[in-house]
Symmetry: none
Subunit: 549 residues, 2 copies
Amino acid sequence: MSSAAATSGLARPAAGHEPATDVVQVYDTTLRDGAQQEGMNLSVADKLAIAALLDELGVGYIEGGWPGAIPKDTEFFARAAKELDLRHARLAAFGSTCKAGAQPHDDPQVQALVESEAPVVTLVAKSDIRHVERALRTDGQENLRMIAATVRYLVGLGREVVLDAEHFFDGYRYDRDYALACVRTAFEAGAATVVLCDTNGGMLPDWVSQVVTEVRAATDGRLGIHAHNDSGCAVANSLAAVAAGAGHVQGTVNGYGERTGNADLITCVANLELKGGARTLAGDGLAEASRIAHAISEITNISPYARQPYVGASAFAHKAGLHASAIRVDPDLYQHIDPVAVGNDMRMLVSEMAGRASIELKGRELGFDLAGQSELLTRVTTRVKEAEAAGYTYDAADASFELLLRAELDGGRPPRFFDVESWRTFVEHRPGADGQVDSEATVKLRTGQGRMISTGEGNGPVNALDHALRAALVGTYPEIEDFELIDYKVRILDSQQGTDAIIRVLIETSDGHESWSTVGVGTNIIEASWEALTDSIVWGLLHRGVEPR
Amino acid sequence: MSSAAATSGLARPAAGHEPATDVVQVYDTTLRDGAQQEGMNLSVADKLAIAALLDELGVGYIEGGWPGAIPKDTEFFARAAKELDLRHARLAAFGSTCKAGAQPHDDPQVQALVESEAPVVTLVAKSDIRHVERALRTDGQENLRMIAATVRYLVGLGREVVLDAEHFFDGYRYDRDYALACVRTAFEAGAATVVLCDTNGGMLPDWVSQVVTEVRAATDGRLGIHAHNDSGCAVANSLAAVAAGAGHVQGTVNGYGERTGNADLITCVANLELKGGARTLAGDGLAEASRIAHAISEITNISPYARQPYVGASAFAHKAGLHASAIRVDPDLYQHIDPVAVGNDMRMLVSEMAGRASIELKGRELGFDLAGQSELLTRVTTRVKEAEAAGYTYDAADASFELLLRAELDGGRPPRFFDVESWRTFVEHRPGADGQVDSEATVKLRTGQGRMISTGEGNGPVNALDHALRAALVGTYPEIEDFELIDYKVRILDSQQGTDAIIRVLIETSDGHESWSTVGVGTNIIEASWEALTDSIVWGLLHRGVEPR
């Protein structure tokens, strides 16, 4: 056991309450089971970006999807092989055992798993006899044959095979012998791991503990746990399985998933590492967990849950009151772990110390030495806090933060490459245009070389505005010809007020060598976009060493 | 034990895994500890309304606040005595033991508890010797005296006294004897219940189980559990305490609370009732739990969490095409309980993996019997697949799906409430407008009553368009005056192409009674918004039974 738990300030758990294994495999299924969440719809590019973040977190396995069944997932595996450079994780393709009456080498769905070239194949198999008979409409023997044949076939091709035993717990409680036969069959055919799935999510920790203990006694091989949160116990069920001897935990970042979601993988891992003393992640990704969880929620465009354990914005936020002054003296008496262990912050201290410290750190990262400039740090911290209260976020917009910082360094004046006189954009569906919609924008501004008026068209108001702005500036600053808008994200911050809500726009711009991100906020999406667009051009010019002309 | 677990379709838990007591007291602290949540600010009227809902749920105790310390809470108790007609619950006033060196009858804070006239007083007391010495700045003996004197004083006045032993688990693991002395002292002075609090929320179920078992063996009286969710185990920790002999569970509705929140009381209760066979609530409030949880979130103005166990909007929503055909036949094999037991519903989500089976099920949910209409089902399934490939999503836009379905039922023609001739919107930052940005839209359309032209303003182009559209239609269809846009979401579908990406807009509209969601897609955000806006009006009119005029 490592001594990681020492950071928690908690007494170590008593013997007998520790996980039975030191090393627990971490298997992420955000991209497959997590994507079942209501309202989630990930593009291939989204999936690739999330996979890179999961690898950074240090998970052992990334389940990328179901090639063959879902065209987007077939494409994911093809692109992942070329574009992803994974340091820690192995890619897993998810699929089903061969069909009843079929052989794996004749089953197109199994062939798609082979063709995905993923080194790991995770096969879902029925282990509840009722599902075998009523959903598969075959018999128990045939299902065992399908498991054995498919596992053996894939192992023979050199793949690591994980078997997800679907509805295992319900099946075990209904027909213990049949459920066990499925597990034994998979191990005998060469499966590296058999994962006991609480597919309906209704288990409680004591039930999981009892079943895993019994299965472990009755079979020989690595068991895993796949829990859903329908009883509100997905994390506890995962821990109970590990304590009973499971050596493999499946889950999703931010607990994404169908219905109430899957086990929140970061919460499981943090509990196992920081409280159970188990080794789970490769590298030191746990210390980056908050940033990674937040970045993934930017990609899924699902608002982060402030009360999420460990990584939530409120997870270490103490409301001033009963404990306020005592917390200042003895923070360890008021938090279950040191938030630094998961890359989070105790928020009460943010305004006084941690905020300034992290701004100093970020400044250094951007090339500004702010050490000892106490007054400046206070000023910047105050501006950041005010801006974040208004809806800005600088986590994902370093370039906007740098502009804010430079403005304070230069005595509050931002660099002036141009002065905007006016802009307008319109979108029109003309009579008789057969559904065609036109977007146009006009920008009037001044540079040192005079007054510029330009009009741009586009396939939307922001695109038109972007074109008009560039057209107005390119004569004075030909450097911007290289700048290209490569990402544009919109988030509604308070979704309880319809279109009156505050809107945050994040823009990523590239010059072919590097990319930078800027943020704009407003009740008006066009205004917010304009702010982010102009910031992106100013930052790009600054970093090219261009002087205002 | 009751046979309530039979509704779950689960085998009963094995002996030894059931709660040790049949009847578990349910103590709600939404109005006190829940109100510590970041961003929550309840008025006295809010608190009274929530208390009435909690009583309807059937909890045994409602902790109303801290009279004396918080003026609003003093007022709450004064008004509650007059205005609340509680059928099930007893009101509890929360406060602290008397100060070091003081007597309860001289301590104004204790006197405020007495004056609240609440029949139950819950006293928070330190039980971790480190907190006694460092936060209270007194010694262990004096703290025991404060507990004994305050409990005895209030019991002498006829109050039921609950003692909340703060930081109990951390304190017990640091100095077992002192923590136990606090519990014994409270019981000896007449406390009805001593609640073991995991104030920092860092416990895991096995640790809770062990500590509660030991305390139960070492003391004599009713123990309670008060868990926070910092380890993601608040519910499981509460269940573990009950299984180890605690007969009183504290928690909050929707898991509100500081940091990661308190134990979600409805999840605890549903697990205990439906899976553990314990008796917890008075009456049959559990069957109303979903409505009550949502009503409370309306009052707190904190968006309900769709993935919340039991009562969340997604808790029984199935997306996977994999299972859809089987779910139709055997719903009990795919859900951990019958959602009716908690007043929730099973929902089918129409997703890109949709097959004909899930579309048939979804149709039935919306009131259309499509069974046997094979050709129609194929047509609808094809249209859904094409639309989803283009970026539409129907799992969050039931109303748009219904319009698609109705159009196919009517031979491909959507209902025509109006014909759009043209629309336009513009956003302008005028010269010298000092940063002000104007948005305006004009809509031209025809109804059976003639040609309508209207202009609307707004704080953004979509808002302006919404206003113009309503203004053009309200003369013909006054019903739309009740429609209100309550949510607006934008998603960029392929975020690798800047503003050329495909944009999906989801709009939620309410008429005060129900709400419905529509979707629009396009490369142009305004065009996508227009589609969702017009769909929302058409659906609303259809469901009011309005005929085209």
